[in-house]
């Protein structure tokens, strides 16, 4: 984590913006020189007028190019967690608080163009910024630059590199399927003596095709939280412990990868699973939220909070 505080949104001010002529701008300047020499040589009033009109147009276009980025608001949107090896997709919000639309705003990262957008007056536009996530932990959003050549392409304006406060959680890369180790004192025996298919509500899991519509959590659907299946206590539902200590002799990252794989497998198998790490443990449960908490703990294992 860097020592400087990265803001969650940034408004581009005068000091954050720079401007230089483009190659077309320099060519335009050459055109003006040729025109001025012609005007002087022929003593031609209209030629002077045209030359100065085009020169003034270039000056006005400078103001328009600056305005195209001035007071543009950048903010980072949420970024869904990814596994190491995948690409984290950051979302950058460009908000235009002014009454004039902004055209041809390009978001760049390390001199590479990410996307160009037009932002309507008092509106906003989103730009997706895919970043390869190589290691687990928190991946900070890389600094970006916004640039523009609008309206006449004679001038190029760009912003200072903007570092926003947003990061993406990167889960460890799941290991190849590995047989789960168990400790002696643990069993796969049911912990509760209840009948399978009993009617104790024990939680929800994601809807899968083939599930009975009777068990759909309709209230959650109505709340817009997605499709979930109510799960009812099954005494036969197996409980497993995914334990750090069952993987001796492996380095930390490999252990985390293996545990990640186990978490995914357990969740898919629909069993109750607990996770035991050296400093933390999670009681057996399942469901999307539980899975996320476990993976999060694995992702941030050994890192400063």
């Amino acid at each position: 984590m860097s020592a400087t505080h990265a803001p969650s949104d940034v408004i581009l001010g005068r000091r954050q913006l720079f401007m230089l002529p483009t190659r077309f701008g320099l060519l335009f300047a050459l055109l003006l020189v040729v025109q001025l020499l012609t005007a002087i040589n022929y003593g031609n009033g209209l030629a002077y007028a045209l030359t100065f009109l085009l020169g003034s147009l270039a000056v006005v276009s400078m103001l328009y190019t600056h305005r195209n980025l001035f007071r543009l608001r950048l903010a980072a949107g949420i970024c869904a967690p990814v596994f190491a090896g995948e690409a984290a997709v950051f979302r950058i919000h460009l908000t235009n608080d002014s009454d004039t639309p902004r055209f041809g705003v390009t978001v760049m990262r390390d001199k590479k163009e990410i996307a160009g957008v037009d932002i309507p007056a008092r509106g906003s536009a989103d730009v997706e910024l895919p970043v390869p996530a190589t290691i687990r932990g928190r991946l900070a959003i890389p600094p970006v630059t916004v640039t523009t050549r609008f309206p006449l392409g004679l001038l190029y304006s760009w912003s200072r590199r903007v570092a926003l406060e947003q990061s993406c959680l990167v889960y460890p890369r799941p290991a190849d399927p590995t047989p789960r180790q168990t400790r002696e004192q643990e069993t796969l025996e049911p912990t509760h003596g209840l009948k399978a298919g009993g009617d104790d509500y024990i939680g929800t899991r994601e809807f899968r095709p083939g599930d009975s519509p009777h068990h759909v959590d309709w209230k959650a659907v109505a709340r817009g939280e997605g499709w979930h299946i109510k799960q009812f206590g099954g005494g036969y539902q197996p409980t497993v412990w995914l334990d750090w200590d069952t993987l001796p002799g492996l380095d930390t990252e490999t252990r985390l990868s293996v545990l990640t794989r186990w978490v995914l497998d357990a969740e898919r198998a629909g069993v109750l699973y607990g996770l035991r790490l050296p400093e933390k443990s999670f009681a057996p449960a399942n469901g999307e939220h539980h899975q996320h908490e476990c993976l999060r703990a694995l992702a941030l294992f050994g890192l400063k909070p």
Binding site: S8, L31, V34, L37, Y48, A49, A75
Partner: protein, 659 residues
């Protein structure tokens, strides 16, 4: 930068812009040059629209060589204004066939701007200026289209370009007025730079002034300090022609006056003349000018000669006296003023001899000649018959129909034969008073020739033999003569009221004349500030601001300060924060602020409805009120046709809301 452009509409913008830029040249350049451009543009259009054959590089190269050779054959050179512009336009036409990358398009567009400037080298009329503004607008909108191919439609591009150009105009005016002008040129102008100027010839052949009378082009304009003198005194002296070969008249070798030497006998007339370029050095002055303007030489024959041919409008102020006595005549002037042509016929000589015997002194002899013209059925006509080898003899004894030049030449020949020093003066007579701008317009058709005889008592005396046969020409002007002639009314002895009746204008002519005058005034203003705004006018303009004798460097400094000030004003206007937040949005932000204090912060990406749902889950107790506010906000802000009632309700709801 080097990416290919695939949008066909961008090409259309470019074609329109190019056509706007090239159209004015159709009036000046050979038709084939315009045709090459048009064919190139149409061909490329067909390539895009109908997948026509598009020539490869070799074919294009061959076409280019062909065009260069064609331009060379047309002008026998590739340098100078005409061949340069012809090359530019034809090559632009061929360039259409190879346009591919953004760079190609932009370069072509910049050359269009150059082509627009090229059209000013032929004409600087108000019309062309107005058209050029349209062409610049089209080019600028096309440039915007190239840079931003999507997002804006055509009318938005035109509007934004128009707004930007409108903002550029005040800046342009400052730079235009203050940019230091030089007189003369940086390098020699090509020889074709000054074609097609009309002006008084420096010779008078039978028919040369008559040719001018066909032209309604303006020769010069005059504004008087105070009331203008009567029309019959408006003799604009141009050239003095003292040498004759019996056929035409020409100038005697020029001699500069040692000093202005005549005795004024009337009040001075002060006036300012704006001469159209004539490519001749003569500066017209009211008979007789008393002072010598800058850059002019005062000749011994009381004419003014500019130090170089007048190639751009020339403005000068003068003082003249319409009554004068020029005093004695030097021998060196007397001798050429008496020289007779070799082909002087015996009957002309006999006629002059007879008058000399009968009258004795110059003025009665001259009067005898004028009486002779009046008595012997001479006619003033705008369409005189052709004259033979001895025009004076032919005119006096055979045709007896002539224009002012015939009368002047015959009169001077007769006077010389009678031993009186005399000479022909050519210039202009009269003019049309433009009451819209209170100045006199003198046209080429007002060109006139008259005579001067020298008498011991009064010096050089002006005698206008045309006045003896057609006083209407003197009193009413050439336009009146034309009208009377069209109505079949003979000249010379009409009662005054008959003439007045014939001269009355119908309402249409009256309106047309005033419209013409206002148009001339507009043009005059245009010329004063655009075409003629050179070093001298700039000095006068700066002097009127109290900046006499400002140095070049200080003027440049002033220019930059002025331009910077305008730019800063624009920057302030364009970049100032907008206070006018939408009222509904302001209320909603207040609502969000209250929720934030209660720990519910709206994320930047979160829509209003999603945010309300999230809050409702957290605070079910406020659910109804939060939803009501959010729904109303969305309706007022984004919905159609919501009244002020909704906004008022929203305000009340937000004001009482507590989280």
């Amino acid at each position: 930068m080097s990416t290919a452009l695939h949008d066909r509409r961008v090409l259309h913008s470019l074609l329109v812009a190019g056509t706007c830029a090239v159209v004015p040249h159709a009036l000046e350049l050979p038709l084939w040059v315009i045709a090459v451009f048009a064919i190139g543009a149409a061909w490329r259009y067909a390539c895009e629209a109908f997948q026509w054959y598009r020539p490869g590089r070799l074919v294009r190269l061959a076409l280019m060589l062909l065009v260069v050779v064609a331009v060379f054959r047309q002008y026998h050179t590739l340098l100078g204004r005409d061949p340069g512009i012809a090359l530019l336009i034809t090559l632009l036409g061929l360039k259409f066939l190879e346009l591919k990358t953004l760079r190609d398009f932009v370069v072509s567009l910049f050359v269009f701007y150059l082509v627009i400037l090229g059209s000013f080298l032929y004409s600087q009329s108000l019309w062309l200026g107005a058209w050029a503004l349209i062409a610049v607008l089209a080019c600028t909108a096309a440039l915007m289209h190239l840079i931003q191919p999507a997002g804006l439609n055509m009318s938005q591009r035109l509007r934004l370009s128009g707004v930007m150009l409108a903002k550029a105009l005040p800046l342009m005016v400052i730079v235009y007025l203050l940019f230091p002008r030089i007189s003369g040129t940086l390098w020699g102008l090509p020889e074709d730079a000054h074609g097609g100027l009309t002006g008084m010839p420096d010779m008078m052949q039978p028919g040369s002034i008559r040719n001018l009378s066909e032209s309604s082009e303006v020769a010069f304009r005059v504004s008087f300090d105070g009331t203008p003198p009567p029309l019959r005194d408006l003799y604009w002296r141009g050239l003095v022609l003292a040498d004759t070969d019996g056929h035409g008249w020409s100038r005697a070798p020029a001699r500069a006056a040692k000093q202005v030497s005549f005795v004024p006998l009337a009040d001075p007339v002060r006036y300012n003349v704006t001469m159209e370029p004539s490519n001749k050095p003569w500066m017209l002055a009211l008979d007789l000018p008393a002072i010598q303007p800058k850059d002019a030489r005062y000749q011994a024959d009381f004419t003014l000669e500019h130090r170089e041919p007048i190639r751009e409008r020339l403005n000068y102020s003068l003082t003249s006296y319409t009554r004068y006595n020029t005093g004695a005549l030097e021998a060196s002037e007397r001798e050429p003023a008496l020289r007779l042509p070799m082909n002087l016929s015996p009957r002309v000589r006999a006629l002059a001899e007879q008058w000399r015997r009968e009258n004795g002194t110059p003025l009665p002899i001259a009067q005898a000649a004028l009486d002779y013209f009046r008595r012997e059925s001479f006619f003033y006509t705008l369409s005189p018959p052709l004259l033979g080898d001895n025009p004076v003899d032919d005119f006096l004894f055979t045709t007896r129909r002539g224009f002012c030049e015939h009368f002047a030449a015959a009169f001077v020949t007769l006077m010389r034969a009678a031993g009186i020093p005399s000479r022909v003066i050519v210039g202009y007579l009269g003019g049309e008073l433009n009451t819209a701008g209170n100045y006199l317009i003198v046209r080429q058709s007002d060109a006139h020739a008259w005579a001067e005889i020298w008498t011991a008592e009064r010096g050089w005396v002006r005698v206008d033999p045309t006045g003896a046969v057609a006083p209407e020409r003197i009193e009413l002007g050439l336009e009146a003569v034309r009208r009377l002639e069209q109505q079949g009314i003979g000249l010379g002895s009409l009662p005054a009221d008959a003439v007045r009746r014939a001269m009355e204008l119908g309402w249409f002519e009256y309106v047309a004349r005033h419209a013409r005058w206002y148009w001339d005034l507009t043009n005059m203003t245009w010329y004063r500030w655009v075409v003629d705004y050179g070093k001298e006018r700039q000095e006068r303009f700066l002097a009127s601001l109290g900046l006499d004798d400002i140095s070049w460097s200080r003027l440049t400094g002033l220019l930059f300060v002025g331009a910077l000030l305008v730019t800063l004003v624009y920057a302030f206007l364009l970049l100032r924060p907008k206070k006018s937040v939408d009222p509904a949005q302001a209320l909603y932000l207040r609502f969000c602020h209250r929720l934030a204090r209660a720990g519910m912060v709206r994320a930047p990406h979160e829509g209003a409805i999603n945010f309300a749902q999230r809050c409702a889950r957290r605070r079910p107790d406020l659910k109804n009120r939060m939803e009501a506010i959010t729904e109303r906000y969305v309706r007022v802000r984004y919905g159609e046709q919501t009244g002020a009632d909704e906004l008022r309700t929203l305000k009340r709801e937000v004001t009482v809301f507590r989280a």
